[in-house]
């Protein structure tokens, strides 16, 4: 599999949904496979809340491969022998694209908390500029899970003639009140860290890691299912030799401590806040008199909506809502409900029916 990691710089000004303007921006990208002569074999994969441009393959020294490695690669679900797969780190993120932790172009200072709010449609706008950069007129498919699925949906709405198929996985057309509430608790935990300094921690050379860690621990619980947690950890006590924290009793505690700490070391707190805000505000119907059906009527792409039975963060009712609205709108759309062991995170992992459905969707006539 040919892998190319590249930072693509755009000089144009980007008018954001919030009304603010980014004067030029960088997108960190990673591509897999090769773009064919007709440039019609391109697939865009959009990352979820904490993901990035590294979607597949294992870099030197890396313990774990990219976030969708189980599905992207030579001979895999999205077969990189036939498709050119593009992954980006979204703006506002913290893995190389322009965000709160990158120095501002003009002042060379970190923008930190002053980085403007970004939205799903802003991301899609930047991804469209990236498609232009690659000379891709029309994606064969745009796919993503969770917040990535929202981008796939937004693509089909924003650029109807530039995407043939959109796979909207473990996502919704807007998140629930409960999800907003959970995001707010996570933000509050971060903001109350003494090292947060109203978001200007970078200029003080500190990081609110304790807050980030606790926020991630909370988030992590919501990504898994109750049954998966029970199966995986049960009520087993943690081996004292591998305790992350002396106060830890159970394996599940140690696991969350470990995951939280790992995350806090690699993620930026302002990005966390921006990403969750983007998720909260996603609601494409708001530009169509709050009428999702009217909104979906603009779509020319074929949709595949996938929900997982064990997902309680984005339960199947949300997938069904998109599908039912798509039927009312009279657009091409299929809905499948899969068994997934991992709760919301199921979208990250291979399972046979999941893989077959995505492969068939990708192969079907557009």
């Amino acid at each position: 599999m040919k892998v190319n990691t590249e930072k693509v710089s755009f000089v144009e000004s980007l008018a954001l949904e919030s009304g603010e303007v980014l004067h030029g921006f960088d997108l960190m990208t990673e591509t897999y496979g090769e773009l064919n002569y007709a440039k019609d074999n391109a697939v865009l994969v959009c990352h979820a809340f904490s993901g990035n441009h590294h979607a597949a393959g294992k870099r030197d020294g890396e313990k774990k491969p990219g976030w969708w490695d189980e599905l992207i690669g030579d001979g895999k679900t999205i077969d990189t022998r036939n498709y050119f797969v593009v992954a980006v780190n979204n703006i506002g993120g913290c893995h190389g694209s322009t965000g709160p932790a990158t120095p501002n172009n003009e002042s060379n200072q970190f923008s930190g908390a002053s980085f403007p709010e970004v939205s799903v449609s802003d991301w899609v706008k930047t991804q469209k500029l990236l498609a232009d950069h690659f000379g891709i007129d029309c994606w064969e498919m745009v796919a993503g899970g969770s917040l990535g699925g929202m981008q796939a949906l937004q693509w089909a709405i924003s650029y109807p003639n530039r995407v043939k198929k959109a796979a909207i996985i473990a996502a919704s057309s807007k998140i629930s009140t409960q999800n907003i509430a959970l995001n707010e608790v996570a933000r509050e935990i971060i903001k109350k860290d003494e090292d947060f300094h109203d978001g200007d921690y970078l200029s003080k050379d500190v990081s609110p890691k304790k807050g980030l860690k606790a926020a991630r621990m909370l988030g992590h619980i919501t990504y898994l299912s109750e049954s998966n947690m029970s199966k995986r950890f049960g009520r087993r006590l943690q081996d004292p030799k591998n305790k992350i924290d002396a106060d830890v009793n159970y394996e599940v505690e140690n696991y969350l401590q470990y995951k939280g700490e790992q995350f806090a070391n690699t993620f930026d707190a302002n990005s966390y806040i921006l990403m969750t805000k983007a998720m909260d505000s996603f609601d494409p119907a708001k530009d169509f008199d709050n009428d999702l059906i009217k909104c979906l009527q603009t779509i020319q792409a074929k949709l595949l909506v996938i929900s997982f039975d064990s997902d309680w963060l984005f339960p199947k009712e949300y997938g069904v809502e998109i599908q039912m609205s798509a039927i009312k709108a009279g657009i091409d759309s299929s809905y499948i409900e899969l068994e997934g062991d991992y709760g919301h995170d199921s979208f990250l992992f291979y399972s046979e029916q999941y893989s077959v459905a995505l492969t068939n969707f990708l192969k079907s006539d557009g």
Binding site: K302, L304, Q323, M324, I327, K328, G330, D332, S333, S334, Y335, I336, E337, Q353, V356, A357, N360, F361, K363, S364, D365
Partner: protein, 195 residues
Amino acid sequence: MDNTLKLIVLDWIPSQSKVIDFGCGDGALLKILSEQKSIIGYGVENDPDKINACIINGVSVIQQDIDAGIHNYKGMGFDVAVMASSIQCLRKPKDAMKNILKVANECVITLPNFGNWELRLGILNGKMPSSAQLPAKWYETKNLHLCTIADFEELCREESFAIKKNVYLNRKGKSTWLANKLPNLFAAQAVYLIG
């Protein structure tokens, strides 16, 4: 669905209509309808292999148990609902019929005729009968409510389901004189347009 049936349904369903096919199988009927009559079609199916066949056929499909879900499709602007060889598999066929007629203005129903002479002979032999239309063994069949043409049409009269068109097919899938003269005895399948 065999070819004669497909031709009949193709003839009955108006161009550019919005069609829902309950128990759509591999989506073959919806595919032909969209190619030849430019319909907007959706299939409802619960078997993963059949769903995948629909996706590969480029047919829009919704994964759902029909028993649980016909009423969900009310008010969605369907012109025609199709239920081919599925009505006898449902837990409550009468309620399903009522719901289908709320989903769409018209519905196409096909059903295997348990009154066919071949099946009657099977019963006379003291065994659960089988035929090309009803091939499964008694312990494997998905059919819960098999009926004869006479039974079904009696239900339609009782419930005021108006049969607008009907065709009776023999065991070979042909609409013969005999099958139409004495359908309850000689037809193996019946196709109805109900509205």
